[in-house]
Amino acid sequence: MFLLAAEEAAANSWLYDNAWLIPALPALSFLLIIFFGKRLPNKGAEIGIAAVSAAFILAVLTTFTWMGDIRASFDKKEEAQVLTVDGEEAIAVVLTAEEGEVRGAPIINEVEWFGIGTDANRTTLGTEANGHGQPAGGEGETHADEEGHAEEKAFSISIGTWVDGQSVMMLFVVTFISLLVHIYSTEYVKGDRRYTHYFAFLSLFTASMLFMVLSSSTLQLIVGWELVGVCSFGLIGHWWEEKDNSDAALKAFLTNRVGDIGLLIGMTILYFAAGQSFSIKTINEMAVAGDISKGTLQIAALCLMAAVMSKSGQFILHTWLPDAMAGPTPVSALIHAATMVVAGVYMIGRLYPVFFVGFGIAGGTINVMAFIGGLTCVGGGLLAFVQRDLKKVLAYSTVSQLGYMVLALGMGAYTAGLFHLFTHAFFKACLFLGAGSVSHACHHSFDMKADMGGLRKYMPTTFATFMIGTAALAGLPPLAGFWSKDEILVGAGVWPGTEGNGTYTIPFIFGMLTAAMTAAYMTRAVWLTFFGDYRGHEEPHESPPRITVPLVILAFMAVVVGFFNMPKQFVEALRLPSRFALAFEHWVEPAGVATFVSKEANKFTHAKPSLSLAVVATGLALGAGFLVWNYYKRLYAMDPKATEYTNGLASRIPLLATGHKVLENKYYLDHLYTGVIAGGTKGPLARAANWTNQNILDGVVNLVGVTSVSIGRFVYRYIDQGVVDGAVNASGSAASSFGQLLRGMQSGQVRQYATLLFGAATVMVAVFIFAV
């Protein structure tokens, strides 16, 4: 209802209607770099930076326009029907009575992509196209005023842009971090053997990611989804001379392909469930309205979860992500921390009604999504403890934090999940780029134990920004991570007074554990890198400005972005203007969520913040961090160069030793995947198939051939004495020239095939005559 009204009032904003420019600019830049990059003074980097800057400006303008529109509708609330949830004006859909104007609903601009198939709906569509929620594939034009002639384009598949809070938020994050990474890279990969290719791929990635973010149909989403995957492949394998790197690239691509099975099947199920439509809007509306059975949604959601598991590094398909650190560090920051890996989370948010209804999130206690998320955040966090490579610590931390986002969405904490995506992008990019800066100083090593230590004295800027990033990641107030983490924990609805969508006890415990673990492993990493004595060989140095400036900007963001979604009570307590309260929620939460209200069984609820929970969670993090700090401090007192106790707990307690070994071996998942599954497929299984082919299938063919030749011989020799048998022998002698072969043909082989052909025909004719 609201959505339909929304279309009529689709804002006449130039920015909304031309959002396609945002991915188009980097796409153009990709082409320019590929064809002309090498001839330019900066080898193509300048084109990339210019294009991404322009895209960034457009994204920022779009973001501000969006925020302004939402703000305006809230300001007008006296004269508006404000949609309320639990007595709060929590949803950003406001119908102003006078103008019939709706803000907050997605603004969709679509053009026909191609037409395919006829379908059951085609004949009925002409009469029913104007009906509300008509599921038919009337995707050609979504604007209500054009629905009248929808029947002509009944079965066209469209491509378009979808501008709403969620996509605008993502546009901002992607362009912002991409731009910083571009600038950072001009220094970091300076003099690289494939400098131009590197920037071309960065542009292509940025374009693909933005294309995916703006998807208005699931088909477009699939295309973008795979394109970012291939950019990831290319950039992980950037230094493909070393086999380890190309192995990592292959692993990333293939693991993602495994998840893509789920993506393809899940989207197929939704396509048919929504009456043959790829339109995200149609699918969401039907899921909300109960036009798709819960069982179907559940199966589709399970399939899509497989895709989320691979793309967003969820257990047990996360193993590619740490290996992906083989790529250049700026790439890790952009693709494998801030943007591409959150595609799964983004997709859940985009199709949230499907998951919300499918998994029965309202009123639940546990579901597949929350469980996978919980498992990932704890499992990933544990692995971060045993890494000696700084980037790997951050990689496992990313796995863990992605688990946090999925956990949040699994518990119905929609805004919390996406808010964490938002904050995480900044502080994790800050940390990754910081790690890159450290490695730049330490001669391209990431080994914390061998080549680092005490770096705070040598690189103060990197150290300061890294510390801010760490504090934000650990969720210490008032930094960004604190606000989003707190919101997730609140969303579990377990802590007294938080309410929420259900009572997610187990996920809540996972979440609390992770809060403590995150602080602990980051303290360990920080100590090993920046404290103690320097253990490397050559004098480290602070990085140049093109590296440190992006770090400072990101650190600044890591401090402030959390303030975008402060709880109402907090804002009131500080006597800040009310517009600061839950601003992010108002901007981002889609109008689609509003319709949940109508369905009691799928009631969408916002959890209430709790001061005590915030205090306890922060206390846990501080306590865990303090313990680790103390551990290393004592170690340092014993031996300034030591990085671990020689007789630590793990060497004394067998159970811990086993646990440590399991972690060192990454839960043996790589052994299973690479050794057993991949090895088994390309080894014994493939060989068996090939053997069957050569000996059985081909054996039959050869047997038939040989037998018919023998029969032919027999016939010629004993029945038709006049024909010389030498014909067959002639076939054996190699006829290497045209004429020779022609002679061979004339005298034998073809005649035999003709015999055979004739024989076969006779048999078939006989069959027809007698059988038919």
Partner: protein
């Protein structure tokens, strides 16, 4: 001009290469350059006429046969010279028109051993006429003639210009396809007699077969479909009739492989959608689950076969088995969505696998081996980096990456399998769908593994500073760039094909839809 196109356009397009071949026969063998020129001109004439036809084609009525000609030919059996082009044949005709001249250009400095450009190019032109003729024929006898005309030149190409094991491969190719053709021919003849219509016209036969009074029974249709299935299925080739393919491909000269992959395999799948499905709908319904089964077995089996190969060309050949599996799966769903996907898949596979064979040929020319173990580092600065990139893009296209052509043959076929035509068992096809989706992982595995072992890493000792190793040359660029452009453009604008094929395909799709709803009504009443 339009009059000419309407009455003579298709004929001129089909036979222009043959005229070129005749001219070349009169030119002495030693004038190699002249031969190449004549061959190129002949195929270019065909191409230009084709372009004229394409531009004059009424895309709003792509479901009807255009530029149609129907003249008497063999009166005794009432076989007629009936040709025409509709939206279903148009993409395949365009593919043939494009690929053959490119192959001739590539031949400019790549005439395979033992030389003799004259014979080689004459065969190429005969092949060209045969392929085009098959796609325009509307009469079963005419179709059969063209279908068989294609065999002989390819047989010689493999047998004379092929690799070490060429004789075995060429004989196997020839024998196997001919074997299938025999059954196909019997089915054609049986149609002629059983319907009592005394015609070989495809449309008339289709109407006749479903005639409630004089039509064919379901069991008759099933039997006749079986004959066609063997004929077309071997040509596709479908598992388990595919074993001629790896041998033929591996032994064939590059040009032969390209033509074989790009166009020849499509004659089989085209036969299914043009002849078998519309004429024998009930037979198709009976056979569809089995075709689907063989298709998905082929997808997995072909992929596993690829993983086991040690020879680059043989690997690409096996990948055709897997890819044609998707095409056949699309056809087996009997839905317009699936058949559209199948036609797209045919064109995409033609371009992509054709490209892969081109690259394999050029690799062989430089490294004198296609053994994957000995290759590596193609992307390296002093090896052939541009060719390495082309291989990478083509591999990505082949594994079905969205944004490149391969995807649009693959995903819609998988999608269509979820909801096959009403008469078919949904559960069975959903299992096929999952298997086919798993096949996409295997496809990525063998292609990327190939890419890793040939293009990435360091080149092996023996090829560092090897005199024969050099990057892409001019004729290669000319031959490859159009194909690469099409692979990318079709990836982003799939409508270029779907919008043309949709209407004629919908006509077939409607036949099956009405059949199932008719059956439902019948049983209901």
């Amino acid at each position: 001009m339009e009059d000419f196109l309407n009455s003579w356009g298709l004929t001129a397009m089909v036979f222009a290469p043959l005229v070129g071949a005749v001219v070349m026969m009169l030119i002495p063998e030693r004038d190699e350059e002249l031969h190449k020129m004549v061959a190129l001109v002949a195929s270019a004439v065909s191409f230009v006429i084709g372009i004229l036809l394409l531009t004059n084609f009424d895309y709003g009525a792509s479901g009807t046969m255009q530029f149609a000609v129907d003249r008497s030919w063999i009166d005794v059996i009432n076989a007629r010279y009936a040709i025409g082009m509709d939206g279903m044949s148009l993409p395949l005709i365009a593919l043939t028109l494009l690929v053959t001249p490119l192959v001739i250009i590539y031949s400019w400095n790549h005439i395979p051993k033992p030389g003799n450009a004259k014979a080689f190019l004459i065969l190429m032109l005969v092949l060209h006429t045969g392929m085009l003729g098959t796609f325009v024929a509307r009469d079963l006898v005419l179709f059969f003639v063209f279908f068989e005309v294609v065999l002989l030149p390819m047989y010689f190409m493999i047998g004379v210009w092929g690799g070490e094991d060429r004789l075995y491969a060429s004989i196997k190719f020839f024998l196997y396809t001919l074997f299938g053709s025999a059954f196909m021919l019997v089915s054609f003849l049986a149609l002629y007699w059983l319907t009592g219509s005394a015609t070989f016209n495809m449309v008339e036969l289709a109407e006749r077969v479903v005639d409630p009074v004089e039509g064919l029974s379901a069991s008759q249709q099933t039997l006749l479909f079986g004959g066609m299935f063997l004929g077309f299925g071997i040509k596709v080739p479908m598992f388990p009739f595919h074993t001629w393919l790896p041998d033929a491909h591996t032994q064939a000269p590059t040009q032969g492989s390209v033509i074989l992959a790009a166009v020849l395999l499509k004659l089989g799948t085209y036969g299914f959608v043009r002849i078998a499905l519309p004429i024998l709908p009930e037979g198709a319904v009976a056979w569809a689950p089995w075709i689907g089964l063989l298709a998905v077995i082929g997808i997995i089996y072909g992929a596993l076969g690829c993983l086991a190969q040690t020879d680059m060309k043989r690997l690409i050949a096996f990948s055709s088995v897997a890819h044609m599996g998707y095409v056949m799966l699309g056809i087996a769903t009997l839905t317009s969505f699936g058949i559209n996907a199948a036609i797209f898949g045919m064109v995409a596979h033609g371009l992509i696998t054709g490209m892969l064979f081109f690259i394999a040929g050029s690799v062989k020319e430089r490294y004198h081996t296609l053994e994957i173990k000995r290759l590596g580092g193609l992307l390296h600065k002093d090896q052939a980096p541009r060719m390495g990139w082309i291989l990478a893009i083509t591999s990505m296209a082949s594994l079905g990456l969205p944004g490149l052509a391969g995807f649009w043959g693959e995903f819609p076929a998988i999608l269509a399998a979820y909801n096959p035509n009403a008469g078919l068992n949904t559960t069975v096809f959903r299992i096929y769908m999952v298997v086919a989706a798993i096949g996409t992982v295997l496809a990525a595995a063998y292609l990327l593994w190939l890419l890793q072992r040939t293009a990435f890493g360091e080149p092996s000792e023996e090829f560092v500073d090897h005199p024969d190793v050099h990057d892409t040359v001019f004729t290669e660029w000319v031959a490859w760039v159009p194909m690469l452009i099409l692979i990318v453009v079709l990836g982003f604008v799939p409508g270029l094909i779907f919008d043309v094929t949709n209407e004629p395909v919908s006509i077939i799709g409607d036949v099956f839809k009405n059949m199932s709803s008719g059956a439902a009504l019948g049983s209901g009443g």
